[in-house]
Amino acid sequence: MDASHFLFTSDLPIDKIAFAIEGEMTTDADGVAEFTAAHDFGVPVFPEGIWSTDDFATSWTFGTTKYSGDTISVRSSIIGNKTNIVGHVEMTPNTKIRYRVWGFIANSEINTEVPKTGLAVADRFTLDTDYNYPKLVTDGIANKGDTVRVDGLKDMQSACVWADMAGDDQYSPISDGIGEVYGGFGDFAVFDLEENKIDFYDLVGAAQKYYYRIYK
């Protein structure tokens, strides 16, 4: 057992999932499937999730792109805004897809009412230190071109970044190939582990804002 896996510390907040939804959709004759789920937080939400064609025996992460030779054979994305979460999958036509989506709201919205997530199984707390629960070090909003300094960045375990492409508070995980949708690649965050900083690049002039979450 690794003591660093122990959760019961209040030094850092545990990642709290603010919403969780699941459902089913089928790709059309063009191989496109999309769902829209409304929420009533009134603030932007930052979604992520998985989808599956075999009842979650295996799954794909929303934001995954697969190249087959010179073409993209699988593409998926997810976006959240102040009212909705929209998921999008492109793959083989007439394929039934199940999806599970969850996400967060910014800590700056700390007074937002968050209903119980309602996952009957996963909600049960396990005081078991064999599992490593990501611990949120910091989160925040950055504008394109910003440099954000994070003490101890080299010790981070993982991070997530969502991009607001049009400055209208609609956020997608930065991993979802958004640059491609907007005509070029290049919207990304560069983590400088030596200088303890994050540079939010915008090579194609598309993304306006970024929301980031840093974990230990």
Binding site: A18, T64, T65, V121, A122, Y133, C160, F188, F191, L193
Partner: protein, 141 residues
């Protein structure tokens, strides 16, 4: 209930880490793609035990040059743009990570052209991908 309240009340789900793995891809410094040929794809793959149906996050690292100095830096995302030079001009290749049928793949794609030969330069180096998987929060284990 407010967000700042401690999660130990079990009203909320959280993410639970499952496993992590690093893949590495070696790319030569110069890549020439004859016109009409498929894209040049460099890849690595691995199974991550118990992670056939998990959510993952990926971060890229790059030891080489590639248009800007990215030494010791990490790019975030399963898809990343890779600054490089195509026939002498700054251009971008793409890296992607996906999981299919339980196996994780990292690919770096250097596009070719159907009209002329394509040469990518200053792309060489070791590309690393750190993949971290998480338990699907809808599952117990």
């Amino acid at each position: 209930m407010k967000l700042e309240r401690f999660i130990l009340n079990s009203d909320y789900a959280t993410l639970r880490s499952k496993a992590s793995m690093r893949l590495t891809i070696a790319v030569p410094s110069t890549i020439t793609i004859p016109y009409g040929s498929p894209n040049a794809v460099y890849s690595a793959e691995a199974e991550i035990p118990g992670s056939a149906s998990t959510f993952f996050r990926a971060m890229w690292g790059y030891s080489g040059r590639g248009g800007v100095d990215m030494s010791h830096l990490r790019l975030i995302g399963s898809n990343v743009a890779i600054a490089a030079r195509q026939d002498g001009n700054e251009a971008q290749a793409q890296g992607t990570v996906f999981c299919e049928n339980g196996k994780y793949y990292a690919q770096i794609i250097f596009p070719g052209s159907s009209f002329s030969d394509t040469t990518w330069t200053d792309v060489g180096g070791i590309y690393t991908v750190d993949i971290q998987t998480f338990l699907d929060p809808f599952r117990a284990n």
